[in-house]
Symmetry: C2
Subunit: 257 residues, 2 copies
């Protein structure tokens, strides 16, 4: 039996608690033995209250402690742990393994996904990126990760930084392009809903094609007259700047091929 403790009660912590309560592979002997939450109430809908503590000194013994708190708090929380030489990991995409206090064996357990509070996600399809300081700890992390997810990767700190930046591009930035789209729709009294099937198809394409194969549009075709018409149409300076820069970037890419 592998005993897991989760420290934290935020968005990612809550999704992890739910996933470990209902593991994908029930045969795997993983048990979530305790959750640390400053506000005990905030996880009471997820786990029996007797398994919840708000006192670091009452943390039980476990094989792995998963610190799932905001990036800024990881170092401090890890230094608050009153034990030594146990496996302690964090769940952040952008924080180094070395941010964790060196009193314990350190690792990273980074689920690469955007989590929305109260929106159930299928953890089985969420990639979990693992890092550890030694092979035995890696094997332990691997077992724990595979109990909730079908896709587990060994990712070092440098690669994890790259993934975190890429996540900003493909998640935060694409969402911002949707936001700009909605602003233009509102300006011209068109319902944004009309665009949803196009958005869905754009993503269906990227599931089977490379971004290069999937690229279409006036910039890709070097269709100067359409590009000029679009630029003349955009009344918002900020929208225009972004239009120009992304168009130019697509055109430069075309030249490289």
């Amino acid at each position: 039996m592998i005993k897991v403790v989760i420290i934290g009660s935020g968005n990612v912590a809550q999704h992890l608690i739910a996933a470990f309560q209902n593991p994908h592979r029930p045969g795997t002997e993983i048990e979530l033995v305790q959750v640390y939450s400053r506000q005990i109430k905030s996880v009471s809908h997820l786990i029996d209250l007797e398994k919840v503590t708000n006192n670091f000194n009452t943390l039980v013994e476990a094989d792995i402690y998963i610190i799932s708190v905001s990036d800024d708090a990881i170092a401090e929380v890890s230094s608050n742990l009153a034990f030594k030489n146990r496996l302690v990991v964090h769940t952040s995409g952008s924080v180094s393994l070395h941010a964790l206090d060196e009193n314990n064996r350190r690792g990273v357990f980074y689920p690469l996904q955007t989590f929305t509070k109260n929106k159930v996600v299928d953890f089985n399809i969420i990639p979990i990126c693992l890092e550890s300081e030694n092979g035995i700890d890696y094997e332990l992390l691997d077992k724990v990760a595979k109990s909730i997810s079908g896709t587990v990767y060994a990712i070092n700190s440098e690669q994890r930084k790259a993934l975190h930046v890429v996540a900003v591009f493909v998640n935060n930035f694409t969402n911002h392009l949707y936001q700009i789209g909605q602003e233009i729709c509102q300006e011209h009294q068109v319902p944004f809903e009309i665009l949803r099937p196009l958005i869905a198809e754009t993503v269906r394409k990227i599931m089977v094609l490379s971004p290069q194969e999937a690229q279409t549009g006036p910039a890709k075709r070097n269709d100067t007259s359409t590009i000029e018409a679009h630029e003349a149409f955009l009344s918002n300076e900020n929208h225009l700047t972004i239009y120009k820069i992304l168009t130019q970037s697509i055109q430069e890419n075309g030249k490289k091929l």
Copy 2:
């Protein structure tokens, strides 16, 4: 019986031919009576050859002629039609209704979707944006559009221009962000596949939330230290420029709220 002729054999034309051959609402009395294609062979897999012509002078009489050719060719093709006062529409998002020759009644039949050759799409969920010069023609267009799609909108030229620009943002530009993501992955030897579940979830969110509600990430949180770490990490000038501009745009949006 409403008789339809399609003029063109490109990507959109081929998807329209397939859709009219297999209409969503078979009860509707719509018939694709003829297809004009310069190269007869290019549509031979879609329709009986006896219904295909490569000669404008042999176009049969019909209730509606759908010109689905490249934007540049619309005006010329419409002026090659040897008849008058019939309903002639084009399928472009960016070309004015007035580009069509005024010898005939004019309209627009714009399916708002990204079409990939040889990839079947479910036309029923593709919004079709209609425009005409009078109400009777609109009714006809509406019947024809509703025979293949469940979502049909009256969209004037100004709104259609807006939609076309927005389509560039939410389709072409988001795909380019995937491309940048892939470039960063390659540089750091991470498989781009790890990002696919995140991309899929980003889009699932936008189907139920507004872009504003769905926005997350360091720019949204004004997490300066993560933003600075990302900027220091990006070695490609172009990636860095795009990162900075989109981050700034998200931050400016936050201030407006």
